[in-house]
Symmetry: D2
Subunit: 435 residues, 4 copies
Amino acid sequence: MITTLPKPTNRKPDTAIYERRESVVRSYARSMPRQFNKAENVWMHDNQGGRYLDFLSGCSTLNYGHNHPVLKQALLDYVMADGIAHGLDLHTDAKADFLNALENVILKPRGLDYRAMFTGPTGTNAVEAAIKLARKVTGREMVIAFTNGFHGMTLGALACTGNAAKRGGAGVPLNHVAHEPFDGYHGPDVDTAELLERRLSDPSSGLDAPAAILVETVQGEGGLNVASPEWLRRINAIAKQHGALMIVDDIQAGCGRTGNFFSFEGMGFTPDIVTMAKSLSGMGLPFALTLVRPELDQWAPGEHNGTFRGNNHAFVTATAALRHFWSDRQFQQDVARRSALLERRLDAMAAEHGLSTRGRGMMRGIDVGSGEIASIVTASCFERGLIIETSGAHDEIVKVLAPLIIDDALLSAGLDILETSIREAMTVPYGVAAE
Amino acid sequence: MITTLPKPTNRKPDTAIYERRESVVRSYARSMPRQFNKAENVWMHDNQGGRYLDFLSGCSTLNYGHNHPVLKQALLDYVMADGIAHGLDLHTDAKADFLNALENVILKPRGLDYRAMFTGPTGTNAVEAAIKLARKVTGREMVIAFTNGFHGMTLGALACTGNAAKRGGAGVPLNHVAHEPFDGYHGPDVDTAELLERRLSDPSSGLDAPAAILVETVQGEGGLNVASPEWLRRINAIAKQHGALMIVDDIQAGCGRTGNFFSFEGMGFTPDIVTMAKSLSGMGLPFALTLVRPELDQWAPGEHNGTFRGNNHAFVTATAALRHFWSDRQFQQDVARRSALLERRLDAMAAEHGLSTRGRGMMRGIDVGSGEIASIVTASCFERGLIIETSGAHDEIVKVLAPLIIDDALLSAGLDILETSIREAMTVPYGVAAE
Amino acid sequence: MITTLPKPTNRKPDTAIYERRESVVRSYARSMPRQFNKAENVWMHDNQGGRYLDFLSGCSTLNYGHNHPVLKQALLDYVMADGIAHGLDLHTDAKADFLNALENVILKPRGLDYRAMFTGPTGTNAVEAAIKLARKVTGREMVIAFTNGFHGMTLGALACTGNAAKRGGAGVPLNHVAHEPFDGYHGPDVDTAELLERRLSDPSSGLDAPAAILVETVQGEGGLNVASPEWLRRINAIAKQHGALMIVDDIQAGCGRTGNFFSFEGMGFTPDIVTMAKSLSGMGLPFALTLVRPELDQWAPGEHNGTFRGNNHAFVTATAALRHFWSDRQFQQDVARRSALLERRLDAMAAEHGLSTRGRGMMRGIDVGSGEIASIVTASCFERGLIIETSGAHDEIVKVLAPLIIDDALLSAGLDILETSIREAMTVPYGVAAE
Amino acid sequence: MITTLPKPTNRKPDTAIYERRESVVRSYARSMPRQFNKAENVWMHDNQGGRYLDFLSGCSTLNYGHNHPVLKQALLDYVMADGIAHGLDLHTDAKADFLNALENVILKPRGLDYRAMFTGPTGTNAVEAAIKLARKVTGREMVIAFTNGFHGMTLGALACTGNAAKRGGAGVPLNHVAHEPFDGYHGPDVDTAELLERRLSDPSSGLDAPAAILVETVQGEGGLNVASPEWLRRINAIAKQHGALMIVDDIQAGCGRTGNFFSFEGMGFTPDIVTMAKSLSGMGLPFALTLVRPELDQWAPGEHNGTFRGNNHAFVTATAALRHFWSDRQFQQDVARRSALLERRLDAMAAEHGLSTRGRGMMRGIDVGSGEIASIVTASCFERGLIIETSGAHDEIVKVLAPLIIDDALLSAGLDILETSIREAMTVPYGVAAE
């Protein structure tokens, strides 16, 4: 089956310009040393004729694949007609269309009532807006986030992020946030919601009354840890009881990645605030928003603003994406089928090597035991034409974030490569594999 | 002359969808109640056939006007060819092109040596990256910013911002930043650089040793206050002497707004770090970068990252903009001529009413004495078809941020409207004008 | 037996001067509305001839009772001889004597090697010094404290304190401290040391690497919660493993209250830093010190100072107390016997009403179920001539802090009063009792 | 005249016990290597028969000299009668006496209306209480303190302290405080109150609305800088206008040091809060209080507490001191005369060497140009039997803090020694003097 994939190139590009002029902070380019020039559907092409199956999808930013023809055409039409590219937060046709699509395609069918706040077009900005608003509405300062949570790199969001290396980059102490154990963090015998409830109910616990509880339903960067519906409902109830807002950060898990548009659908609770970004524009254009229950929308005009809030190109592609993929059940059914395939295949790989799997929907991975082994696996996949990355506290989870629109056969082909690469890494003596 | 401008519409659009679904945080849409649908060159069009001359330019994000044909064509070509839209921080042709243009068109001719860090595509993210890096490199925590400075709305950048209403939105105390008086803040007789030097040299002043001094050469949001070259050189020398990095936030003043590509050109000092955003993409697409002297580029890979760092569409338009406008001196000469015209006209208006002007290059305004009068002026301009806004601590500065590519006659026509509107606001009894 | 206690007065004193001139922040005076004028041994006398058995002992500040004749005489002799009363941190005979006694009577026999830092004479100052030093030595900022911990009211120590009402008084967020669950906090089935170890070992837990772990072996204000030796050893090992210092706050539990001079004696670990205050001077004079392992004594001269560091009167009484009580085993044997008596009696009271007891040594209490019942009990005791107070998150623990030198018969007599008062409070209908 | 002073000893004491058992944080003992054993009036005696005239007075803690007979007898009587030594914050005769004396001797004659809050008996604790209360009352977080201010070493007070070495000891960033330039800080031509007013009136200055302005009228540790009455009135007016409380830290300058009981008397303004400590007990016993205008006394009971709040021994000596020294004008007249003498002599020394003087009342010094010269001067004084110390950002001010009760002839004798020592240090070649 692997033979169905094209042979990738193996010549590294000339990187002199990057060495000279791009900051050493760059990261993905190090493990995927190619220069890419175009992309469509599930494929990325390098400038030497190589082609790669993309199981990274811009970290779930390209759920509908690269340059989806419907979205691409909408954007081309808009640009050609001199549609507003940049309009601060002025009313535009593109924005009105997006809001109407959001209302009719997403919110109404789900019985949800939110207002959209267009923040600066990055996930971290959506999170900053969410916690600012929660602090304003409650008059409290402390936010509860969770172990292994990832919420962004600007100072407010970074304080909510668990990763020590990221946190260390702040250069100042990260305050006003307490990290509590996520669902299952202390093993199956410890109910971490119970731990949290105990401390919030105790006036001498030292845990200040929180403005918000900020949670990912599936921790994308943190290792594909999945919160159960029961635990999330309990967390939501705890938030309510203690006067805090519940914020679901759906930046990575939303937009269909876990099967539904929102990752918390059907779980029996409604977050107060939801942050969205990544796949929201559908085509990878910068776009973020913070959904807020109307009664919490207590901002003063311009109290949180930004030059690029309301990216009109992204409104256009996002509207096209909502209408194309979410107007009926077809897409969700396809995703459900692919999720099942993915789960089955990963379970088999795990069983073969005594490993464990993680995740939910099309957001799944396999714990190969260490970051070193994981990087051998991903490097080996890359040599075979498959782009795939890791997550987790030790980068020990090989993470499959295939485009949701992937053809089932191609999904299988990609998983064949992964299977082979894991088998190699797990069976070949370590010293050899590492060469 | 005013008759050369088209009559704008005066019917407000249907705003029901915004009331229902957009957060009340929106601001510009309140004072410009139209729904816009397309824009080219210096014009914005509403969906009822009205046309507006744009002296706001997305707060200096559209220095080259709306949908400039060269940039627009570059983007269309790229999208049609399935160019990479989203690639995290992977190497792409579009990025390589941009880096080459940056090097050859901008850095080399100016004798500058910087590396580009592509942050999340918002100015605030570029600022967050800059101060993170300064803290990392120096091992210090405190950043010195200035009165009336504006640097963004995420928590790290917001701490550097002076505006109390914006700061209040944080919901937590904003720490690790001291605001020192900007050039001229205490009047012509007090040398504020001297005040700063005195305190930094005094081990008992309570002002901790700073990681960085963060400054705008012209304070865009803060009231178009201009720092003199002497003062900036002195600040740079103070930074050096006290082991701090000098960061120029050129997000609003850069990209030609003050006449040169960087606002600090020809002033006899080189910042350690420069933040850029707004007009950098040329077409209003989200894009930001932090320029860093190579020896300060001490990041660990991925230590500051983000999903939309390196917006490839923006690489394409930015490259086209750099090549089209900055390869020879023509554009700068045009801007210089228009700046002179703008200065002359504003000086005349100020002289007529005993007011004062502010600013530098094509970033100038007139202090009409109060935010109330200023809002009367801008509303009156809008009724006459001119989009124009205010800045300053009390919104008392009417700010002209015309596109740099504006035809001289249109610039004059727009200024005619401004002149008329100011005259009305200053001479008509206040109570009447306010109706 | 109760008849052996004298009848207390029941007329409230004239409190006009307090109403006019003392801040409303006063607290104990509210529940014990008498004006006291002298005190000796276990007795406090009011200015109307009443006498009270003192089971509060200045919150364990008067372990040797009031005005113990040996200590009193030492102080009188010193003052009469014009001994130095105040000498900043100059060398004095009184200080040298104290240091010698500390070395010979306390440290050497226990195989301990500490240096004494004389901080400002309050427990909170000793804690501030301890955490400052830990932060300096480790270069880290975060301190781990525990649920229900109490460490003082100045900003650094208050951040380590768990009580929400106390914390709320700060008026600023309390940062750089994480409160982790104390031994047994989550019930017998959850090993809280294990929870802590898990999070400190996980680089994505969001719990930053700590400078110190700050712990009370018995939480005096927090409800007489007792940490087991196993748990404390484990915490000490965790601190070592993660490069943090272990600080035992022995301010309330030290000086014999739990049976030995230090509360951690015989537990198989040695803290890096120990804070002492309360009963250290022996006579209730303000005195505090921070004991530091010599290799951690990395202060610059005067880096932490204060006007009253090294209270010479307190040196004199403390030296007398160390020599009188700690030169042989008699005192400890007496305390052990009284502790057993106290335990037996409290257990019986608890058994009678289905309640539970807390504490260790002569630092024990009974959980009467609510702060309301506890205040009924203590008020009823006071009417019968017994001074006793509460602790715990809800003030639900009636706390016996009798002087350690109390005669066994008097201890029994006081406990008889407590027994009667509890019986009344538990059996009389609540509504009646509360009248 | 110098011959009237006894010859001090010059043998250093055995310091082995300090080396072994006292923290290296000790400071004064380093420059005055003697072991003292008794003290009376203006004299300190070492244990080898030497006698020293004390121009340090425990940094103004011993304004009435050592072991003043009236105070000493009051204490002896109290202790012999088994007066309460420690009573938490219970009502005691000693406390009532003190409050009555405070009311009748101090407050009423001055037309002042304050309540006394007995904090932990250290100045830093009084400051912590003051800023806590200001934050609570105003609901704001930021406190304005001044360059060269010194307010204590616990975290809240340390944040208000200017000295970099002290601040560095915190180990965490010191936040929520802005240090503004003190009166005269930027030379005679810059009105620093005007600078402050400008920034507080500007909503974009970045200076958040303050809870309090905390000021010393004379900066004791900061170099004896004197604020003018006009400046202080202006600061008080600024505080009022901007809704902040004015806190005068009178810990060092109060209790007669500047001539009156409070240093701000007769200046035409009344602080909202006053902090007192040092000489308040009169005999050097630990004691501190925070005076609060009644309408600001908004504490909850126990919201700020502490074991040693309300040191009863100190109540006794403080009451005796208030009654003895402040019941009539004699003491103030004596202090005024001695202040004039001190001023005259220091001016003469300054004139002789082209130096400048600092200070007010009996809190004066001479700027000898550098900390190195100052330490030569003080060492030389010490060899001649005079205890004297330095202050200022560079320890460049030789500071005279003689007991206020000093006989005029002895004051002159001490100043003779200072004169001689300065003359030597200023005229002898530096290299020689430094040997």
